[in-house]
Symmetry: D2
Subunit: 382 residues, 4 copies
């Protein structure tokens, strides 16, 4: 069994919860779950045991009620879990939501203590972070991180950083746990957190779940690189209508997203082709099904100029939710293997910004084979 | 040095010749040549020593003059090679061209003899076939093939089949040679030819150079397969204005093309998703820069439906011509390694329909790593 | 009140019936109905009084049951009309359906008599033809048409031609009626039928309802023409999964469609720019929501080359069904105005191939203003 | 003859000059010039007599040399005109260019005087403004405008506002002239300038030349509106690599552009469908050939949801330059007709933001017919 605690019961977490229960009940195929039911830990063994949020309209509600707002077909089996109060540290700033958090009532040290105590009751194997994208500054130094917590630096720390810190404390006490960071805040790419994790029996996967246009761009760029075509320029737009896009209209948050994605180009092509890759805007009626557009121009043999345009409508939340079904199981497996710190083989396929910091993006098609091998499965094509 | 003879001095062969000379002269980067100058045999070591065609307006002309019609910047270094008369067997049927061939003047056995004698003078290491797409029936049985030649069955054999037969005869006499089949006629996928090649010291690469939309489709489908997304349907159109598209308006030729491409879907997805993948039409002003359009619909996690559309303008001939710069060098390497018969590791990356017959399509990104390893190069990402 | 009889109770007619009833019941906005409720005859005044088909599985069934197969939300108000047996004359040939028709049991003259008698009971003001696309040869001469009926030439006539003939006979007897031909068979463009209609108090609208990519292409081409941009080439594909696309895989039917659409280019640009515009293929999972793709290349000022690509997913049947809600009301109005024969002002906006024969396509945006004025409405922008 | 003075000798003005001379010399067809040679004033009668700029590297240079940087095929006939120093008022701020202007050396009143004197020598019939997009605040009150000039308010006025003011002064002195404002600064939409123009014998055309994706969007939206389809959302991106896109990365300038374009949606649909329409970014290698992408979602009959995507590569400067060839001739015609103030019939087709202020956008296809009629030509389709 894999016991899961969710941080941020928004769109992604709700689709994750709903789809997971439908698959467990045999009502739905595990489409969108990369490793399907090939792993030694089966999908039916995943259990959500707790959930946290900071939206005042969610805290204290039953999980089933919250999920239902995102998926009218939410299964009844989600009943019985109450959404607990988490940490916000301003993460809902500029969103049309009222935020409530432990940090409104106590110091950060106390909040960490509070979370660790709750988790010791809930006994999660894996803690999944799918909070709203936040503006952040990485720590790099573990000492600075510890000091910021101790000194209650609410201006310096973000919700995710505090959650990750609490997860490390919890893992240390119980002997092992995993923290899956599916949003852009650098955790698996912040040496401070990786070091802390390694010494605390924590596995960290991250950062920023590899969904949307970016993994596809990655494979298309690899395709061009392998034919030695010279990429002249890359433009990539995406526009959506969910809360994540709304949050990204906030300049600072947008910048953190931008940072993540741009490294892909150089990693895969071997040179930094001029590119414009950013979330572009918010358009409410698009809802969770974003519109993407991509334009790539390159030089082929004998100086010929070619052009490719990719457009699409892609459901944002299910794409990430499907990955989480793998990630929680891989998290438990990593704990069993005592692979504390972070696991590049997992991150390289599942994350836009695969930690640790010094590691590059590689073509997803190859990363997929590597994670299969790491998990003890036969590669599919190698 | 790699001595090359060309069969079919059309658009692809002319761009190959022109681009090759420009790279050799240091006037152009080897963009579009997948392995660039990483191979032990360098691009500057490739030399075109002969060329054949069956278009009455080309036979007897200087190579430079013919290439110039396709590329006004054709280098002077192409001067001095005279286009020789090849075999047509009706391969220009329905095209607005006057065909002349050895088969108009002699039996097929005599034509084979004639070619082998010429090649013994020209001493090619590699014979590259880039004739016009033809309607054909594979042989499967080597005995039947030999009998068809002996009985002068001009109705049963196609130009490419006779060329490949002659190449085997030549290889046997000189101790080794390679035949690169870049068009759809099954050679590397016809057990009759593979067996013949193996016993004649001939290396065969084939079939149908992997250019255009199909390799990209392959990598996009692999991308979806690895996320366990359920593909509902695939539509792929392409329309162009060069002679190859004109030839494909001929029903029977079109069918041979269709056959090749469709296998991709099942090989990569693991199931035969409904698809419509065929060359669609001829539109003269598009010239060699075809327009492609692709639509893919799939199911993601929790039953979500996504859609991707890819469109593009792609130069047809340079895409294949760039691959030939690798293939002739890999051909020579294969002869040196005595890898007679066919080489799947090479075909899997460079060919739409990689021989031998029983072998599947695999994601190109992975095939690329395999051919690197076969060629003694370090894989790029594995 | 407008009493309507339907010929061909397939996808289009069923969506027409279903949507019409929903609008009448106030449950749906009249989106997709160009003139909405601006006409003097209101949507609530349209009544379906009879329906014909030749699919053995539909004849004798209740309209509500048939419509339900296409739209699960079919309103109950459709109950009580029984599908009657029509004429097929091979129009379902090559489709996976069993056809039954009056023409199986009697001569064409008898069948016409039979229909006229039934219509005299049903008292339609407007007869709407939305049969499956058929292969046909226009008559041009009225004498030849009359003779073909008289001589029971089942090989020469198509179902639509016999229906239109019967409509003229009916109109003559009752003093006035309208026949809306929404499929490619030439009726409003066949001088034989226009003359017959004029003398029989019949109004004919046709031919081929202007839906799908073609009207959009028309407006885009007009846009370019008005900027004096020189169009170099136009490629337009569309692929769908409904019965109409299946029918068009039949070569002969496809040709009739092709003929219709190609005239657009010359009419709007003033010259016949090279183009490839045809229904491209059948792909079952796309269902009624076809995929379209269009590529246009043109020269702008100072010799600059531009390119536009349009792709889309468009519901085929609702697009035409919405036009029918206008056309039946305009048909009744034309009868009241005694505009017998055909009405170009109506056809120019609603039809791909606007009759009469000698009349051109014009930009739809302008045609729209013209039909408004014909109907006594204020133009919107003129 | 139409004597033309250019303000802002950048990409657009240079392509205008180059293409104009090529057409005059019979070396090029007038593609991209909407009215071609149908107007009573012929293209060969247009003469460039002066040009102004504020880029230090252009002022004092020969026109031919400047044009050549944008079009290597610039005709020799452009020799002999020296670029004069104009006004900048910070309009090149944030661009990698050194600005020099009359406003560096004298008061605004003196600069106006200086320009009027020069124009009295050059004797332009039409002054064409194609400066870089600038951040601006409209005046609305003529009194405030006059006061700002008198008080030398260099912080309040922009270059275009001063140029337009000078044009009015010039027109008053010489009895008539035209000012074509092809950039977003509101002139024909600023009542202060329209009133001033009317009283000064000045014709003003404006504002913001209707090129790029917006006029196409306008016609596509009209197409949907005329079918009564309910537009759910519109997203439109465009990204380019010329100086105009670079200038728009500046937040304030971008906002002025945004303002212009958004009015289109409500004017054409009759309701303000949610939309995201803005210039999106700068990507240098795209050069003057921008990439556009547009996504429109709408409801058709019976509640069906359709989607259209338009992408394209469009040369930015030639599109506007071609319009200028008409506008200068129409400007002269308007002066002859004494149509002082502004002319909506002209603006409605040629401008994104057609003045006067209270006038709406209409479908371009209809606007085209209206301008034809205004110019005494037969409408094409009405």
């Amino acid at each position: 069994m894999v016991r899961v605690v969710i941080l941020g019961q928004g769109y992604v977490a709700s689709i994750f919860a709903s789809g997971l229960e439908k698959i467990k009940a045999g009502k739905m195929e595990p489409y969108g779950v990369p490793l399907g039911d090939e792993l030694p830990i089966k999908i039916r063994d995943v259990e959500i045991v707790g959930s946290y949020d900071v939206d005042a309209s969610k805290v204290g509600k039953d999980l089933h009620d919250v999920v239902k707002a995102y998926d009218p077909d939410a299964p009844e089996s989600l009943k019985g879990i109450t959404i607990r109060k988490g940490i916000h540290l301003g993460s809902l700033r500029n969103l049309p939501l009222k935020a409530v958090g432990l940090d409104d009532e106590m110091t950060l040290s106390e909040a960490v203590e509070h979370l660790v105590e709750e988790w010791k009751e809930l006994k999660p194997d894996v803690i999944v972070n799918v909070c709203t994208t936040e503006a952040f500054v990485p720590f790099e130094s573990r000492e600075e991180l510890e000091r910021a917590i101790a000194e209650d630096r609410k201006d310096r720390l973000t919700a995710v950083q505090v959650y990750a810190y609490a997860a490390a404390r919890y893992a240390k006490e119980v002997g092992g746990a995993a923290f899956v960071n599916a949003i852009p805040t650098l955790i698996a790419n912040d040496p401070a957190f990786v070091e802390l994790a390694r010494e605390s029996n924590l596995v960290v996967f991250g950062d920023d779940g590899a969904t949307g246009a970016t993994p596809l761009t990655a494979d298309v760029l690899s395709h061009l690189a392998q034919r030695n075509r010279k990429v002249l320029d890359i433009a990539q737009f995406n526009i959506g209508g969910n809360n994540d896009f709304l949050a990204l209209t906030d300049k600072e948050r947008n910048r953190s997203k931008e940072f993540t994605k741009s490294s892909v180009v150089k990693d895969l092509l071997g040179y930094d082709a001029p590119h414009y890759i950013k979330p572009t805007g918010f358009l409410e009626p698009l809802g969770d099904k974003k519109f993407i557009a991509m334009h790539i121009e390159y030089v082929s043999f004998n100086g010929a100029h070619d052009e490719i345009v990719i457009t699409g409508r892609i459901n944002d939340s299910p794409a990430l939710a499907g990955l989480l079904v793998d990630l929680v199981r891989l998290g438990k497996m990593a704990v069993e293997k005592k692979a504390f710190g972070t696991v590049y083989e997992v991150n390289a396929f599942y994350m836009k910004n695969p930690g640790p910091k010094e590691k590059p993006n590689i073509p997803r098609i190859i990363a997929h084979e590597k994670v299969r091998m790491w998990a003890g499965l036969k590669p599919r094509w190698l």
